[in-house]
């Protein structure tokens, strides 16, 4: 929610004052975390983005540039706004140091922020103070360790074993029906988390209309951008029918997805 307190120490807690020496030490901390945060995130960006290019170069699989660009444009039409909106929205909560951690690891709202808040309450640091910011950073380091260990051991090693010992019939069912099995739950969770009745009704009505009415009666190209079209129409209608005057809809950080 928007009421999530700042945890990165921009505001110094009222009663607490720091000595010049402490400010100097804090300055060293800020410079170190900003510089190395940026460097490590950039390296992570290069490694992660190189994955499909490596496959393109080392295998005989060569989809056309046009196919790749079209697919990316379709995905960016849905998520492009988040490339900008998520960093802006999380910045007041995470601060510069936390930004480089959070956008490296992902799972911000379901893993990293809960960890930071649990840690702050454990040492009774007041959110918004310098101490809370340090506590948050240490907590995300701990969460990152668990994240890496769980992914490498349980997915990297055991995951392969689990898939390899699973009977083909079950693997086929998982492969064929994983998408509806995820989407049903995610949609319900999203609706429950956002608590935006108006936007939810509009989104579902628009989706039904576009997928079941517009797409079957349109040229094939339309189906490619069905999701982007639904997003565009829904955003427009939600904005047009927003509550004017009074309080804005209850929204906020929960809309963020990584």
């Amino acid at each position: 929610m928007l009421h999530t307190p700042q945890v990165w120490g921009q505001r110094e807690g009222g009663a607490v004052t720091f000595t010049a020496e402490q400010d100097r030490i804090h300055g060293a901390y800020t410079r170190a975390t900003n510089r190395w945060g940026m460097v490590t995130l950039f390296v992570g960006f290069l490694l992660a983005t190189s994955l499909p290019f490596i496959l393109y170069v080392t295998t005989g699989i060569h989809p056309t540039i046009g196919q790749i660009v079209t697919a990316f444009v379709a995905v960016a039409a849905v998520y492009g706004a988040f490339y900008v909106l998520e960093p802006i929205t999380y910045f007041p909560i995470l601060g510069p140091a936390g930004m480089y951690q959070a956008f490296m690891i992902g799972n911000i709202s379901n893993k990293l922020l809960p960890s930071a808040i649990v840690a702050q309450s454990t040492i009774k640091a007041v959110p918004g103070t310098r101490k809370a910011a340090y506590s948050s950073t240490a907590a995300i380091c701990g969460a990152a360790l668990v994240h890496v260990a769980s992914m490498l051991i349980l997915v990297g090693i055991f995951g392969t074993v689990i898939v390899s010992i699973t009977p083909p019939a079950i693997t086929e069912v998982a492969r064929l029906y994983i998408l509806p099995s995820i989407l049903g739950g995610v949609l319900v969770q999203l609706i429950a988390t956002l608590k935006q009745v108006r936007a939810t009704v509009i989104a579902i009505a628009v989706a039904l209309l576009i997928v079941l009415v517009v797409v079957p009666h349109s040229p094939k190209i339309v189906s490619s951008f069905a999701t982007a079209l639904a997003v565009f129409v829904t955003v427009g209608l939600t904005w047009a029918f927003r509550s004017r005057g009074g309080k804005p809809d209850e929204t906020g950080d929960s809309a963020l997805i990584n």
């Binding site: 804090h26 060293a28 975390t33 945060g37 940026m38 992570g44 992660a48 699989i61 697919a71 995905v75 960016a76 998520y79 706004a81 909106l85 960093p87 910045f91 480089y100 951690q101 956008f103 490296m104 992902g106 379901n110 809960p114 702050q120 101490k131 340090y134 948050s136 907590a139 380091c141 701990g142 992914m151 349980l154 997915v155 995951g159 492969r175 064929l176 029906y177 994983i178 509806p180 099995s181 995820i182 989407l183 049903g184 739950g185 969770q189 429950a192 579902i204 989706a207 997928v211 079941l212 069905a226 999701t227 639904a230 129409v233 955003v235 809809d249 906020g252 929960s254 997805i257 990584n258």
Partner: protein, 256 residues
Amino acid sequence: MIDDAAARHAIFAARNSDNIGSIANMPILWILAVAVFAVIIVQSVIYFVAVKRNAAGADMSQAEVNRSFRAGAVAAIGPSLAVVLVSIALLPLFGTPPVLVRVGLIGSAATEVASASIAAGTMGAQLGDASYTQDVFLVALFAMSLSGAGWMLGTLILTPVLTKGSDKLSRVNPALMAIVPSSALLAAFATLTVTEIPKSMVHIAALLASAAAMAVCLSIAKAFSVSWLREWALGIAIVAGLGCAYVAHSAGLGAA
């Protein structure tokens, strides 16, 4: 519905022609996945050393630094296992190294599946069925990776700007910005969900079982303040959806 023999034939044909696993598990991709996790570890070590070394600057004791680290690690166990459960379910679609890189880094399982599904759609294909060829797999991987790069570039570019202008930022009206991401998100997931409905009765069964399991989990979590259930809810919903799909598929309701 389509008869079972035809469905099975299509599945086996798909398995023979679209061998995703052979390219998705190449050794170089494993090296890349391990390198990605090494970068996360290096960053965490640098940050933790920075906190330990400069803790005095925030009136923080070394014991408090260690307790914060431990609390963060423990709090992350539940969510991490839930993410693991979802990631394992994605292995047949994308192979292990791509799943590790995509979900292990900035992506979340739901975002990656949605992106891949949209990307496959632009080629007239669907994830997991006979139309999911190696070409489609690579295009989907490009789309997921470039989209993830968008988030990281956004952060790399915006963080220094926001650091300088954070005071000005607080004056920006958050109401407008709040409408766009949440309604875009609802629209995207509503559309992706509705797209599953016409595929087959099994798809509908999986959708409904997953949605029902999620609703039950969230209700219990709310009624009895079981916060861990919120983190586990999606994993449970996926198991429910796939379990229901298995029964329905075995009963011959599927379309391949």
